[in-house]
Symmetry: C2
Subunit: 327 residues, 2 copies
């Protein structure tokens, strides 16, 4: 499938490469490496994103500049490469722009349920990350075009989308690619890991400390909850973004089946639900209060207040657990 993508891309002079909105390590890593690949093949590339690049990923923009899409630059593109999103709407303003001025669009992604709206779709749900797929773009064409910067960019996406190579999406092949990236890029994993993970503000750790003190177990220790309130953010001088990844802590409790992080930050309570049991489907769970997502990770909103929200949401999970016990 990459053979076709390579030959299609080579038909163009200027390609706009998009990463998805609210960008993460995988889409940014893939975008930076893909742009460098295009340039090495004599194709001009623009890297677009509507949103800010998270602080811990900004070093990647030294490897390729990522800019807000503007009429003037968009017009210069004669095709678009859309990375790490399963629908045109995942790329923000791109969706609208494309309706007005359609141009060939190529999508590379590993999320489930790819939507229509692209001229070519490379959707590999089994891939650990979109960066793993972009490695194949290099492999297909000329692996010598993979330099140290592109290798580090691709490594970043594999690392961040697999929880440091720990998820069940990591195959022996993923590990081999990681090995190749270290070898070709001539770096050690800590170089990337420290930039991406060891880049916390002291305040964020103090917020995590406060949040972690709220972890409680419910329903015979099957459900773990944790919460963050606006007061905690105020007292530690942090923001909603600083809660990124917190849900992993209640989820790390031995023996539990699901964990929920509640964020009571004004305008109701947002929550992240995670399952670590094949039996518990947090997508179903979240849908009962108008949210949704995947079986193992979903999100929802509740008008509050916090205490009632926790009670109600734990109650929904408890019903699901009771049904499992019956079956």
């Amino acid at each position: 499938m990459f053979e076709e993508l390579v030959s299609k891309l080579k038909e163009h002079r200027t390609v706009g490469v998009y990463s998805h909105i609210r960008p993460d390590g995988d889409c940014i890593g893939a975008q930076v490496a893909a742009c460098r690949w295009l340039e090495k093949n004599g194709i001009r590339a623009f890297a677009f994103n509507d949103d800010q690049i998270p602080l811990n990923l900004q070093w990647l923009t030294d490897f390729y500049t990522i800019e807000e899409p503007r009429e003037e630059t968009l017009k210069q593109c004669d095709a678009f490469l859309l990375l790490d999103g399963n629908s045109p709407t995942r790329f923000g303003s791109y969706a609208e722009y494309m309706e007005d001025d359609p141009k060939p669009s190529y999508m590379v992604d590993h999320h489930p349920d790819p939507q229509d709206g692209f001229d070519m779709t490379i959707s590999v749900e089994e891939a650990s990350s979109t960066c793993e797929l972009i490695f194949h773009l290099f492999l297909q064409n000329d692996i010598k075009q993979l330099d140290s910067k592109s290798a580090k960019a691709l490594y970043t996406g594999i690392l961040t989308d697999t929880g440091s190579l720990q998820y069940d999406s990591v195959t022996p092949e993923t590990m081999n690619i990681a090995s190749e990236l270290l070898r070709i890029g001539e770096f050690r994993p800590n170089v990337v890991a420290e930039k991406v993970f060891s880049n916390k503000r002291l305040n964020q750790l103090h917020l995590l400390s406060r949040a972690m003190s709220t972890i409680k177990l419910h329903e015979d220790n099957q459900i773990a909850t944790m919460y963050v309130t606006s007061e905690m953010l105020e007292e530690t001088d942090t923001t909603n973004d600083d809660c990124e990844g917190f849900v992993a802590y209640p989820l790390s409790v031995a023996g539990i089946k699901a964990a929920i992080l509640f964020k009571d930050l004004g305008e109701g309570v947002k929550m992240s639900l995670r399952s670590k049991s094949n039996e518990v489907d947090v997508n179903k769970w979240a849908r009962e209060i108008g949210g949704g997502g995947h079986k193992k990770a979903s999100g929802a909103w509740h008008p509050g207040p916090l205490e009632e929200t926790i009670k109600e949401v734990v109650g929904i999970g408890s019903k699901q657990l009771a049904e499992i016990d019956k079956s």
Copy 2:
């Protein structure tokens, strides 16, 4: 070097295999796999450790029973294999026993400064883990003897000794071995990672919460410290073992060069020092108060009290930082 070890081991009928005191994932993983290797080669093996196996590693003892050394079983051994420790004293009562009744001893380890006292020493400081070395034992002899249980045991040690494959000790070769272990063992990384990392007691998270609230920055935000006291352990009903891995949190602060976890648990203050800068050598640092270890990870002890200890130890680091600035 493994060729010689293989032929030496095959001269014996019964080998006692030791992991180091206060065992961790690397020594236990190496021990379990080495015992299985010996048995597959018709050599009887006893796995010995003076201490308790940590809760999150006990599943590995289903792959090979680890027992306290007793006169009766020790006598049956006609040689010893010592894993993941650089000196006979790292193996607790073994050191004494060997003085009374010396038998051939083979050591495999990756810590610096290997000490005398072994008949054969395989010390590879560059190896990510002793488990990476034991993989070569299988490779040297007959890789088909590596089954799923041994693969998971070796993977555990590589995972735990490299902070989830993130340290600078991880080479392309380490990643290839990880890949081979996944392929041969037919498992995905989450199977091991969840057992080792997502297996926390609620109390341990509450202790972490308390410890994290003590994180402070020193010397122009170059050194981060964290501490744990006996009161914290009492109040959260936890033990020293529950502090495993805590030092990663101060180390994750952006921009710092080194982090120290102080444990004030009676009988002075124990500490773990970590560096994330090539310039800061925490082995040197620890040696100034009689401790030691690696350049990036070391340990030491100070008579206390806590506040003075922190002041003195940060002071030593500050001198090292000043010397770097001068050079």
